[in-house]
Structure formats: structure tokens, C-alpha cells
Symmetry: C2
Subunit: 107 residues, 2 copies
């Protein structure tokens, strides 16, 4: 996953309303912005903006069906970001262990 991709996913997930939106979407499996607006205490327009951010980050995809647009979850981007994070944590541990070892080693 690219640096920009991770950036976009993290920025998207930082907002609580957006996470609630993903939750609502995971319950429905697939839904339009208007339908989702019924699940959350914000206007449809706010939902639409959030969905645009989520789509930009690759966390959802949209598909037009007649007069409505159906949104679906995409787990890949989320999964990739989770791995990126786990890798970063491992990296920190590695570096810290090295520093600690050097500090304890007799010179």
C-alpha cells in the first residue's frame, strides 16, 4: 500500500461520524446515501461528503443503479492499513531493542 493510500485511510478513519457510517454500511451490506442518512443524526449531504472521503480512501465503492447510488464496503484498504500499522509497531520494537542493547553493552 502506498504512503498516500495509508494517509487517506487514516484521515478517513479519524472521524467518528465516518466510522459510524462504515458501521451502518456494514449492517446493511449495501445502501444509498439517503438510506444511510436515516441511520445517523446528520443530513444526507453530510453523509454524501463522508462517503466521498471514504471512497477516495478506498474504503467503500459506489455503483449507480437507476436513480440511486449504492455504496459497498471494501475491506482490502482497511486490511492493508492494519498490516502497515502492525509493521510499524514491529519496526519500533526492533529499533528500541537495538538501542537498549547498545546502551547496556559494555564499551
Amino acid at each position: 500500500m502506498t504512503k498516500a493510500g495509508v494517509d487517506a485511510v487514516l484521515a478517513a478513519l479519524a472521524d467518528p461520524t465516518r466510522r459510524a457510517l462504515l458501521d451502518a454500511l456494514s449492517a446493511r451490506g449495501q445502501a444509498s446515501a439517503s438510506a444511510l442518512a436515516g441511520d445517523l443524526p446528520v443530513s444526507r449531504q453530510a453523509i454524501v461528503k463522508h462517503l466521498a472521503v471514504l471512497e477516495e480512501a478506498g474504503l467503500v465503492s459506489s455503483e449507480r443503479a437507476g436513480r440511486e447510488v449504492r455504496y459497498t464496503l471494501r475491506s482490502q484498504a482497511l486490511d492493508a492499513t492494519a498490516r502497515w500499522m502492525a509493521g510499524l509497531a514491529a519496526d519500533w520494537d526492533r529499533r528500541l531493542a537495538t538501542i537498549k542493547r547498545l546502551a547496556e553493552e559494555p564499551d
Copy 2:
């Protein structure tokens, strides 16, 4: 990891300057705000604020040493958040699979 904890970590990681700060800190292993200010193109005060956010999220810890304050990385919070994300991705997959199965099943 608590919901508030995940929230704090995601919000903290959303900012690119904060991620760069974590990077700089991982290179040094341990450093003061003033030292880190030399690594990034922002003022010491900005660094201090970012470190406060990171500490609140549990991503770094601080320790006073004489006149300076040394910051260190904490990988646990990051690791826990990575697991939370991986679990969420798995959850999405599970739900989507169920929905797909129900849709394909004859009624």
C-alpha cells in the same frame, strides 16, 4: 483496547506531521521536544502540542530528566489499533459473505 483509545490513536495518526514526528522519534529512540524540533520544519511549540496529542493517545510516553523532557515511543497502542483494524476488516468480510450467500440462496 477501548473505543476511546482507538479513537485517540486514529486521530493522532491522521496528521502527517505527527507521523513524521513518530518517525524522527523512532530514529532517535528517545528525544526532547527541542531536539525533535531540529528534525522537522515546524516550531518547538508545534512539536510540543503534537507530542501531547501522541501521549494522550498512548503512542509516546514522557519522562522528565533534569531540565529536559525525554519522549519515547510506545508500540502497544499502535499494535492494539492494528489488531482492531484487522478485526474490523475480517468482520466486514464475514458480513458481506453472509449477505452474498443469502442473496444467492434460492427462497
